[in-house]
Amino acid sequence: MTSTRLSSDTRASRGSQPWRAIAMVLLTISTFGPFVILVVQSTSESWRWPSLLPDALTLAAWRGVLGGTIGRAAFMSTLLALATAITAVCVAMPIGRSLAQLRGASRHVAAALVFLPVAAPPIALGAGLQIATLWLGVGGTAAGVWLAHSVPAIGYVALFFLGVFSARSDSDSDAARSHGATRWQTWRFVLLPSLRGPIAEALAIAFLISWAQVALTLVVGGGAVRALPIEVLSLVRAGQDREAAVGALLLIVPAVAALAALRVGVRRTDALPG
């Protein structure tokens, strides 16, 4: 039986070999190709048709980042993303814990409610948020954009913590409470120290949600808040490919850092085999 199965496995493996090779080539091209193209585009001085490579290279666009519009936009995006990340984690973590206590139909209703700001198309979400921020007197300002970014970020992070707290036992916090700890002390000395990893991951998720927002920033910021994605969008539409490529690469930098954090998290939860 064992030898039959081994030979069958080997045959199956051989049968899929060409497909595996083709898939590997396609994956390599689709993963690294776009980054190589952006790097080349960002350093091209001129790139006339039909040359496959730029006629000359320059670092002018990169040198212009500091002190230029891209640099200012990156700074604005960093501030917005940091503020959004901190807000989302502070608000969504207790909500996620509270939702994890639900069972049955109410749990599904709660999860669907929290999923709404995540699932709502950003431009549709922006329609209501634009009015809300105008009423609050922060329409067209960075503060308004920060509030707007926080809405989907809180949804994402609440769902994230719903998963985290659903997988955890409450025994530690129950023990602390039974020994006389207050709610605050339980959070401060029991829950938070054991949640350092998930909190870091949640901060990264919320940071990236804000970092990549285009539609919400445009609708609520009214074009006055020049975050990096808005600047990159303008550059691409204006045909300033070299500067746009620099901005696009800058948009990827924190994303890659967050991926590293995600990898650590995924490995810890054994979501990936091997």
Binding site: S8, A23, S30, W49, A127, V214, L233, L262, L272, P273
Partner: protein
């Protein structure tokens, strides 16, 4: 034993409040009860005009078409990665990493890169020139701003693949080896096991993620504004155009379009929760 406090549901409602507020405001604005140009009296004229406007439904159906095709391509590719590279070998690990590496790349970056590659004088056109297929940029078939939405579909599928691959790989790893062994012991071939044992479990586990990516593709503004044609204008672009319309009366159309997008999103959330409740237990 669990508490029956209404607090968790209230907190969940609080998170959803901005969306619910947006829905209420948009509904009132479309009916002429609030917003720019509102008379304060119930007026169905704008809502009727919007719902009978061919542009609206062409935008909705085109956005649905692009989201469906791009999600289908990304799902097939993600399932392919999960089924072709399930082992703990170095090659399989590298393949899985390659598939998931672009996960956090923003939609905007994917769309901008697609423009550089697929544009009329982009990298693909240059490669085709050197291969002798075309002799000038004008001979390149339009892959961006095209009615078939090729460039947009490619950009969205590329962006969706890593997320679906992460879920697909995790699902494939979670399929019990015992089930496969039992089928093999009963004489099933590896292909039959993949088709009748692994694939049904993988598909059910992937479905909530597939619905989520469909929603994101449907609502992606930045990809559409860079790669979609002017006619038919995709729903997110059409909505933004109406927001910026100099005519105050037409601005209320933006709220109507936002409502349509929210209805599609809400339907997808309902399907998402239904599939989670129905099949969640099966894939654990």
């Amino acid at each position: 034993m669990h508490r029956r406090s209404p607090l968790p549901l209230l907190l969940a409602a609080l998170v959803a409040l901005p969306v619910l507020f947006g829905v209420a405001y948009a509904a009132l604005a479309v009916l002429g009860l609030t917003g720019a140009g509102a008379t304060g009296e119930l007026d169905w004229t704008r809502a009727t005009a919007l719902l009978t406007d061919r542009t609206t439904w062409r935008g909705v159906s085109w956005s649905l078409y692009v989201a469906t095709v791009s999600t289908a391509i990304a799902t097939a590719a993600a399932a392919g990665v999960a089924l072709l590279f399930p082992r703990r070998t170095r090659t399989d690990r590298i393949a899985r990493s390659l598939a998931t590496l672009p996960l956090p790349v923003p939609h905007l970056v994917a769309a901008a890169t697609a423009l550089f590659v697929l544009g009329q004088s982009g990298l693909l056109a240059r490669l085709l020139f050197f291969a002798g297929v075309i002799n000038e940029p004008g001979a390149m078939p339009p892959l961006v701003y095209d009615r078939a939405g090729v460039g947009l579909i490619v950009a969205l599928a590329w962006k969706e693949l890593p997320f679906l691959a992460v879920v697909g790989i995790a699902m494939r790893a979670g399929v019990s080896r015992d089930l496969e062994d039992a089928a093999r012991t009963l004489g099933a071939t590896p292909a039959y096991v993949a088709r009748r044992v692994v694939w049904p479990l993988l598909w059910r586990g992937l479905l909530p993620a597939v619905i989520a990516t469909f929603i994101f593709a449907f609502g992606s503004f930045e990809s559409a504004v860079l790669l979609a044609p002017v006619d038919p204008a995709p729903l997110p672009v059409l909505t933004m155009e109406r927001f910026a319309d100099p005519s105050l009366a037409r601005r209320s159309d933006a709220y109507g379009l936002a409502l349509i997008a929210l209805v599609v999103g809400a339907l997808a959330v309902a399907v998402h929760e239904w599939t989670r409740a129905r099949w969640g237990a099966l894939v654990k």
